[in-house]
């Protein structure tokens, strides 16, 4: 069960946010987004420090708490796909890769009206992404 979905670029701007739980939205989502990005940045550099060999893209994939699990995919271009799910969910790297290669590339990159580094406003992208995330039961 997916709770939330974020896309950040390498600088820290939140390009996209989707809430699937239908809970009451936060008063100030920008603050939370900045916190999430800062935390992920620290986590990624810590994981890089601990890895046995030098890597270009951080090997950090997920973390679990009692109430949620966070999955992340960092592409070589610096894009971060972040997904908050139920804690029992299995590793979702393959589905994040699918979202990047199929849904994001088709509906965002190939959209001539999309301006890089700005928020993603495409309605079709949101629709397709929501459809896909609802199918991720486990």
């Amino acid at each position: 069960m997916v709770y939330e979905f974020y896309i950040f670029n390498n600088v820290g701007n939140c390009l996209f946010y989707l809430n699937l739980r239908g809970a009451t939205p936060d008063k100030n989502p920008q603050d939370k987004q900045k916190l999430i990005f800062g935390m992920l940045h620290t986590m990624k550099s810590m994981c890089k420090k601990f890895s046995p060999q030098a890597v270009s893209v951080s090997p950090f994939t997920s973390y679990v708490t009692d109430s949620y699990k966070l999955h992340i995919l960092e592409t070589s271009s610096g894009l971060n796909f972040v997904m908050f799910t139920h804690p029992d969910m299995m590793d979702q790297t393959h589905s994040l890769k699918w979202i990047y290669s199929t849904i994001y590339c088709t509906f965002v990159i190939r959209n001539p009206f999309y301006e890089p580094k700005k928020m993603i406003t495409s309605v079709v992208f949101k629709q397709k992404l929501e459809e896909y995330l609802l199918t991720l039961a486990r």
Partner: protein, 134 residues
Amino acid sequence: MHYNFFIVNKIGLLIYERKFPGCAQLDSSDLIRFGATLSALHLLSAVVTPSGLKKSGLKIISSKFFKLCCFQSPTGVKFCLVSDSNTTDMEKLCKKAYQYYSDYVLKNPFYELDQQIRFEGFDREIEKLFAIKQ
């Protein structure tokens, strides 16, 4: 296979660390930074919980090369174990280490709270705990 074991107190200071063969090369300043970073991450992960869910700190961090399990005691002391990605039941090991901490460290009359842990008895038990499970 285990790589490292750390104990971080509630204010973020590293009070115990143990290296096992195969671990990444980390110098002392890295380790001090690690203690503070982990405390901060634990707090932040509770803050960014999706709205409506109970706030809770992180338990396990997974990466391609290692898995880090962080068990927080009710007093705020964090027991962190860094192992390879296939290890399971890391939380049980951390809980056992917590038991040894309360037996060999807290019950020791010469131990000052939140200070570095330098006791042979505790070292011996930790060595035994993580060597058997390898």
